[in-house]
Symmetry: C2
Subunit: 671 residues, 2 copies
């Protein structure tokens, strides 16, 4: 009889011969098979479950499976009950070889198992976090051979988990105060969280199975945190909060100004956003039944000003040419050095910035959307007060930032407001009657549906948000209310009383109020400036790339999710593209942060990516201004929009009258 046996693991297909008595977990490790374990083979964690694949035996040339592994013992039976593991699953660490077997590793037992999100190229994003949990049994102190508790913990991690082979294992100093009590509380059985296989960042008595991390997106307006299980990639809690820096200035440049004008102003803003994040992390931890001190790792993104302020850097240099970043590369720092009281040795990883106006948020968007992974010429726009724009494919990637101003966010608009309950977010204008119907945030019904009045009774209709103003203006253009030059055609006032003289110009009354919601000529001008800047940025990159069209457009950011692609094209915000190739990516920056949180190889990828992206500075590009002026028209003064023309009936071009001024035929409107 042979004293060894064949093991075949599926789905990997790896196989090898092992001495009888070898357990399947040991065999898997020896073959490099991806089989999980936290407890290190002690029938405690139940992670290493495998299915002895009887049916598959013949296929792999094995005759029979009967009694080819040891029968289940007591420890395994207890673990089954506690973990809810049913036959035919066995614990790999308990199933010792008695003959040839095929062992199937189910997805939930694979270390690199979960998919955070498929990137557009369908490549799966595996979980491979920087911090892992390791259960160990530590030798007790012996008066005859004195050694430190820490050295014996490190020794246990080395012998039981083969850690510290390449780089010596070390412990964060913040771990020291609780080290001895934790070891004794766990009766010398503890779970250590180890970062990069070489630094102990947290320690708990007994077996600990959940390793938590947080992906954080610091926006100018909101700060968002996703608490994530580092072993599964699953989001276990999420929350957002208003960025408290708003009290120092609504937009980025006003915060930079605040810092310039007020000594200590940058430090105030740093303290504010750090305190906000600390609260937010405590909140998501509580929501997941945990404590902020359980958070082992944070990945963070933000535009350059947010990124710098969070790291304690005065953003003043970002306020003027040459827009010098203090640091561009990814940066790691102890969370406690940034005033975050998380796990003792928790680290924070800030994604890289691309340029003075193109931040870690843009790098995260690139990581999440993966334009560099395919051949499609992809345009990604992340719309905010500054639009961050990326263009390229696997061959080359360009980036720029365009000063769109806050109009897309509802600022500078007469009835503009944030996207909050009561804000109009969608608009349709009948091309014949010129009557509008609309929807408001938080209400399903359209304004001409039954029940709309009842549904909006509590909040009222208070204003119009960014996506609402874009749809309104696009619909006004499609209905012929305004011309390609953006001027409201006073002649149309004869067709609808909604078009009214408003001083020397005309306006369109969208809702009767109170309050009345109007789209004024000034509102249209503000949007024209913003969309002209956005288009010009995209166009500048297309020129640099020497392409006339793009294959795909991604609208990133919360705002992008609410814009209808066709309306965006009608307005000329983006170049022409097949409508089904214009997609909203939602919070792609946040997704990028989550990816970097759970996969260390993809941290290296985003770092390479950020370094490789060619930056184009709009502020000094001579052609930017020309594109900007040309892009003021609807949808665009010169660029062709064949895809758009196929999709919607564009109004026939009218000759513009005399610029902003309304025609002579003024009707007696309200004063």
């Amino acid at each position: 009889m042979a004293d060894d046996a064949l093991v075949v693991f599926t789905p990997s297909g790896r196989r090898g011969r092992f001495p009888l008595g070898t357990d399947l977990l040991a065999a898997a490790r020896s073959l490099g098979v991806d089989l999980d374990s936290v407890c290190g083979g002690r029938a405690i964690c139940g992670r290493c479950r495998v299915r002895i694949g009887e049916g598959a035996f013949a296929k792999h040339g094995i005759a029979s499976a009967a009694d080819h592994v040891d029968a289940e013992g007591e420890a395994e039976a207890r673990c089954r009950v506690r973990r809810g593991i049913d036959p035919p699953f066995r614990l790999g660490c308990q199933a010792a070889l008695r003959g040839d077997v095929v062992a199937d590793v189910p997805p939930e037992a694979q270390v690199h198992r979960q998919v955070v999100r498929k990137r557009p190229d369908e490549r799966e994003i595996a979980v491979d976090p920087v911090v892992r949990l390791h259960y160990v049994e530590v030798e007790e102190p012996d008066i005859a051979t004195p050694s430190g508790d820490l050295e014996r913990l490190i020794e246990a991690l080395a012998t039981q988990w083969k850690l510290g082979e390449l780089t010596a294992l070390e412990a964060d100093s913040a771990l020291l105060p609780t080290l001895q009590t934790t070891l004794r509380a766990g009766d010398w059985k503890v779970t250590a969280a180890v970062r990069e296989g070489r630094r102990i960042v947290a320690l708990w008595p007994g077996l600990r199975e959940r390793a938590l991390g947080a992906a954080v997106d610091i926006g100018s307006t909101t700060v968002a945190a996703h608490l994530t299980d580092l072993a599964t990639g699953e989001v276990v809690a999420a929350a957002g909060a208003m960025n408290p820096q708003i009290r120092f200035g609504e937009d980025l440049m006003s915060r930079v100004s605040y810092s310039m004008m007020n000594p200590g102003g940058a430090a105030e803003m740093t303290a504010a956003v750090r305190a906000c994040l600390a609260d937010l992390l405590a909140e998501v931890a509580a929501e997941a039944g945990a404590d902020a001190s359980d958070i082992l790792e944070v990945a963070i993104v933000g535009n350059p000003v947010m990124h710098h302020l969070f790291l304690g850097i005065d953003p003043v240099e970002l306020g003027g040419a040459p827009f010098a970043l203090a640091l561009a590369d990814a940066f790691e720092a102890p969370a406690r050095s940034l005033d975050l009281a998380l796990a003792p040795g928790a680290m924070l990883y800030a994604l890289p910035c691309i340029a003075g106006h193109v931040g870690a948020d843009a790098a995260a968007v690139a990581l999440a959307e993966g334009p560099h992974l395919g051949d499609e010429m992809t345009l990604i726009v992340d719309v905010g007060t500054n639009a961050e724009i990326l263009l390229g494919n696997r061959g080359r990637l360009l980036a720029c930032s365009s000063p769109t101003g806050p109009a897309f966010e509802g600022a500078q608009i007469s009835a503009g407001q944030r996207a909050a309950p009561g804000a109009i977010e969608r608009v349709r204008i009948d091309r014949e009657t010129l009557e509008a119907r609309y929807r408001v945030v938080g209400v399903e019904a359209w304004s001409d549906d039954a029940g709309f009045a009842e549904a909006t009774r509590r909040t009222g209709i208070t204003g119009i948000c960014g996506s609402g103003i874009i749809e309104a203006i696009a619909e006004m253009f499609l209905a012929g209310i305004l011309g390609a030059d953006g001027v409201i055609d006073g002649a149309m006032a004869a067709r609808s009383e909604r078009i009214e003289a408003d001083g020397r110009t005309f306006s369109y009354r969208l809702a009767d109020g109170p309050p009345e919601i109007r789209v004024t000529q000034n509102d249209i001008r503000a949007i024209q400036l913003a969309k002209g800047a956005l288009y010009a940025g995209a166009r500048l990159l297309m020129d640099r790339m020497a392409v006339e069209t793009v294959d795909r457009v991604v609208l990133a950011g919360a705002f992008g999710s609410h814009i209808d692609p066709l309306h965006a094209m009608v307005l000329g915000m983006i170049p022409d593209c097949a409508p089904d190739k214009v997609t909203a990516a939602g919070n792609a920056a946040g997704t990028g942060a989550r990816i970097a949180l759970v996969n260390r190889a993809l941290r290296r990828e985003v770092e390479e990516l950020a370094r490789g992206i060619e930056k184009v500075e709009t502020a000094v590009a001579a052609d930017f201004q020309a594109h900007f002026v040309a892009a003021m028209a609807f949808p665009h003064g010169t660029a062709p929009y064949p895809n758009l023309a196929r999709a919607v009936r564009l109004p026939e071009a009218k000759a513009s009258a005399t610029g902003d001024r309304p025609r002579r035929r003024r009707r007696g409107g309200r004063t």
Copy 2:
């Protein structure tokens, strides 16, 4: 004519041929010659001075030196004036080769030049600190090719200093807030302090030449700091302060008890000693005309309880068997994580502990005294409340701790006090008259010298310190006042009125007062217990080492410096040894800390050393008690003292009477 030339450097003798025009600094680097530079060859720092050795040419086979290097230019002339560099010295970085030369590198231009202290084996301790200064000129930001200021600084360090070749250079996060202003304040010329060639820990505008570090010795009673120039090893300022933990308990065990009895007590003691050290570092920095924020590195030693409390670890486990250290190995932590606001990225290096009772102070003593470097069987005792004892040579080293108690420090002694002005520190007793003469701390004159009364008028004579009581008792034994059993011979009262009945025992009136200073029978008992414990510890190690004698005895610690070796032997504190081989090492622990501060290779040496030392636990050694009892006699009950007998006339052994009790012949003493 040759287009290259021969360069010979002395005293190293390294030589090589280089293209004409190569400067001597570049040639030195290429040959691995130890030639210093902070400014990187810009004729600013003046460190790379060399003497073109004309006289030595023939010897090295070179015919003539005339015009064999470029003539001095303007930059060099300016530097000469500023730095006071006189001919025949030239700046290596400015002297370009025109022909064969011999260049002598003077000691002050060598990187590894200064000697901290010669160890007993005469091996010099070179300066090779973990932190070095590097002056660089950083490229300015360019809007066309955006990159972070930090990345350009790192790039400058890489290209101008070849840093970051093995491990990527990184910056401490605490550097970020001031990075941009510093670069601009220095007009893109800055000096970076780089740790281990891979981490930027501080940055100053312009050229900075002094790198400061601190060696710290945390004693139970005092905390001492030596501010040191990391490039020269020179101490530039020193200060000490009372350890504020004294208010929680005088000795180590009472502090451990305080922590056991009071929740949060350990944290209180941690905060107290950290605040004390912060003040002390600010004080030494100010004394050197610098700021605490200029301190780049700290090396720290202390006994295990002090070491643990400083690192924020509750010492409770050190209070009972198995006396488990939280950590034994050397430990590095950011200074700011230990509440020290020093240079942004300053690190603290704690030397390793050896066992639960043998701390980093003992490891430092071993490093400073180097018993492992020679063949002599060396006994090192560091006397304190616990004596830490080392025995061995290059082959093997043993260590133990012995519970001597605080008697050697003047506690438990009737007139005992700390070694402060007014304390008797030296004593001589005339063998005929039995009269004593003595000296007090801070006064040169002996008590029978003219001017003694005047000199002590201000402080008075207030008590007796540790070294004073030891000399007093040794002298009493030599004068026959007490027997080998330590009992004061009441019969001697007939010879001198200084010997007086004192209850049921006798005492010796050392000073007439007020206050009267007496050596009582209880005082002698306390010292007997202490010296018995000390001897027993040493003897235990000698047994384990299987040696009967030692070749050398080192008395470490401030106390050791004040003890006369012969008196120590008369008392039997230490085993017999040739008197000239008994030396005081002063604050050897502090010296060890200074060595570890300035030489990184010797950090590895002390770590190896601490790991290799065999620890003997006196608390569980059966023979310790036997040695202890035998060692109660003067000089010792059984051990031979041939060296001592040759050096002093020991009194003839008298039969002891009835233990502690005075003889019947009681005189009417005071009540």
